[in-house]
């Protein structure tokens, strides 16, 4: 289905739009309240962006430093150019250890490479343990929001889902639903032999990975099983341990409107002594999958500064109406509209750069000041540049005629008079499909002006 058709379907779904309206509004209010608790919000944004820019300009160096320090601390670092390789590496780690139950904490990168399907194809049973991810996994769906995967579902829908899949009494009580999930997932944690997590930040200086969460499922995932696999995009690295401070000031406030999420796990290698707590092995999979190509220009490079807080989704007038699934990509909203075409190819998501009003709300809320509208325009230009053949010729002809007419006042007046007489509107179909173009006034301003002067001169 195209973006246009799935967006239409979403717009017709009253339940979905109600859920989205409530959730994104609440997210926005909480974010603004939390922002006010940081004395210098703008300063923190500038600092975080400067750190990201510096890192990206020397990404090769910082990745090598991170790898060396993580391996010195006992981790194994694997490199994956693409999704298939990353799935292969993780699948092999699981197979070599005879893993059966795999518990997972939230990881957008794992969604991006469709890791669950790859593991299932090997006969493994990956279990999502973040409540929102667990809900969408039970429903056979994907996440519709970076931070709140089940944001599109009402409690009634979740109650019905749990009654069907878990055999619990249907209940509209959110605490009872959460308790049912806790109980079921505890059994999976008890038997899990492999844990897979994402990574929020990777510190080059120390080889530390940081995982941010609220529920405790990421802590269980990275503590109980014998083997822990952490999957990270190449852009997650930051230079110094002390740099974590500014990112931990920005991420919880922007994401959920908290000063601090309930848990941060800072993991440096595997356990050191046999009687230490935690996994015996830590494997870190470093994923490129199209990211390195974004380094080629300063405009696209800023995509890699994203810390996946989801604030731009909540602020976006398009996302707020249609939700995440309409984007037909694991990454939705404004950041998804710029990330998806770059990761998965313009051919597959050529409509996404147009899924925006270019109002700039996304840029205004971004904690690392990514100029998403500029990126959208850049990608639109690429879409147009790639379009070959008849459409392209007609479009070029239209714009060169437009330029010729606009540059000649006499010709312009003549063309406009003809257009008014014949009631012709310019043929801009894609534009007028969703917008009304006002009809031309019966008389132009110049004509009215001249007539007005005559009328006044008459008496």
């Amino acid at each position: 289905m195209s973006f246009e058709r799935s967006a239409r379907a979403a717009l017709a779904d009253e339940q979905l739009r109600g859920a989205l309206r409530r959730a994104t509004t609440l997210f926005g209010e909480r974010r603004r309240a939390a922002m006010a608790t940081l004395p210098d919000w703008e300063g923190a944004r500038d600092r975080a962006r400067a750190i990201k820019d510096e890192t990206l300009l020397h990404l090769d160096r910082y990745l090598e430093e991170f790898t060396a320090n993580a391996e010195r601390a006992g981790a194994r670092v694997h490199w994956a150019r693409d999704a298939a390789t990353a799935c292969e590496i993780i699948g092999r780690i699981a197979a070599e250890r005879g893993a059966r139950t795999v518990v997972k904490s939230k990881s957008m990168a794992s969604e991006e490479i469709h890791l669950n399907a790859a593991l299932a194809a090997r006969g493994l049973e990956p279990v999502e343990t973040d409540l929102g991810e667990y809900i969408v996994q039970l429903a056979g769906e994907g996440p519709s929001h970076i931070v709140a995967p089940a944001i599109h579902k009402t409690r009634g829908q979740i109650a019905a889902l749990f009654a069907e899949k878990l055999g619990v009494e249907p209940s509209d009580d959110v605490a009872a639903l959460a308790a049912a999930a806790r109980q079921t997932l505890r059994r999976r944690f008890a038997e899990a032999d492999l844990g897979i997590s994402g990574v929020n930040f990777a510190v080059a200086e120390t080889g530390t990975i940081l995982i941010v969460e609220n529920e405790g499922n990421a802590r269980l995932t990275t503590t109980l099983p014998r083997t822990h696999v952490a999957l990270m995009g190449i852009e997650k690295v930051i230079p110094r341990f002390a740099d974590l401070e500014v990112f931990l000031e920005l991420l919880p406030r922007s994401g959920t409107g908290q000063r601090m999420t309930a848990y941060q796990s800072l993991l440096t290698g595997a356990k050191r002594r046999p009687d230490d707590e935690g996994p015996e092995e830590l494997h870190i999979v470093v994923l490129d999958n199209g990211r390195s190509a974004m380094l080629a220009s300063p405009v696209t490079r800023q995509t890699l500064a994203c810390i996946r807080c989801g604030a731009c989704l909540n602020a976006c007038p398009v996302y707020r109406q249609i939700g995440g699934h309409a984007y037909e990509s694991v990454y939705a909203g404004p950041i998804g509209a710029v990330l998806s075409p770059q990761l998965f190819g313009l051919a597959r998501s050529s409509e996404l750069p147009y899924a925006s009003s270019l109002g700039g709300a996304c840029r205004d809320v971004c904690p690392v000041k990514i100029d998403i509208p500029a990126l959208l325009l850049h990608l639109r230009a690429e879409v147009v540049g790639r379009r070959a053949g008849k459409g392209g010729v007609l479009e070029r002809l239209a714009f060169s005629s437009y330029a010729a007419v606009m540059a000649r006042p006499r010709l312009f007046e003549w063309v406009m008079r003809a257009a008014r007489m014949l009631r012709i509107l310019p043929p801009i179909g894609a534009w007028t499909k969703f917008r009304d173009l006002r009809p031309l006034a019966p008389r132009s301003f110049r004509e009215q002006w001249r007539a007005g002067l005559r009328d006044q001169a008459a008496p």
Binding site: L131, I151, V174, N214, G216, E245, S265
Partner: protein, 221 residues
Amino acid sequence: MTRPDDARRAILRAIRENLARGEASRPDPLPGGSPPDPLPLRAGSSQGVRTLFTEQLAAVGAQCTPVCGEAEAGRALARTLAGVHARRVVGSDAPLVQRLLHALGDGFVLEPLDRLSRDELFACDAGVTTAQWGIAETGTLVLESAREKSRLLSLVPPTHVVLLSAGCICESLGDALARVSVASHAITLITGPSRTSDIELTPVVGVHGPQTLHVLLLEEA
């Protein structure tokens, strides 16, 4: 399938080539190395920092009881555990925790941490640990794995009781980050009980981790 080293070389080459396309010249990296030395404890755990810490603990839904000396800490621990109807209690290997637990008296079953199976651990009612640092601005507790076996006890049982020395409260996250040591393979920052808002953004506590977080703030007697 490429060999592992090939993948690493290919990614690093792709990064360098793409950066070279976008930048005529790359500026030198920022001076690397270790971060600046930690500042002296700002306001040195003064009364103001302590007050801010307890206010923030309350704001994130954690309980806090100030106690003076070990004897009072022991009595407060017993009251706290009884208050949540905890029977099966497991403590970390911190000497202070062990002393307090063994002085608890009747009514509690003390489980030995190093001999617990996963299922037995899941059946415990409360975990007792210390925290190495507190962070006043956010009401956060910092637990370092090299200092104590506290990873599972602070996470799995429905109640987590934490002993924190009042002299170890940092003002900010930055202060705390400058003090922890990555000699710990796991550093855990805990701010309030486990929580979720994944269903209609309605807050629920205790989804995977503890529902109750109780801090005993220890002043020297």
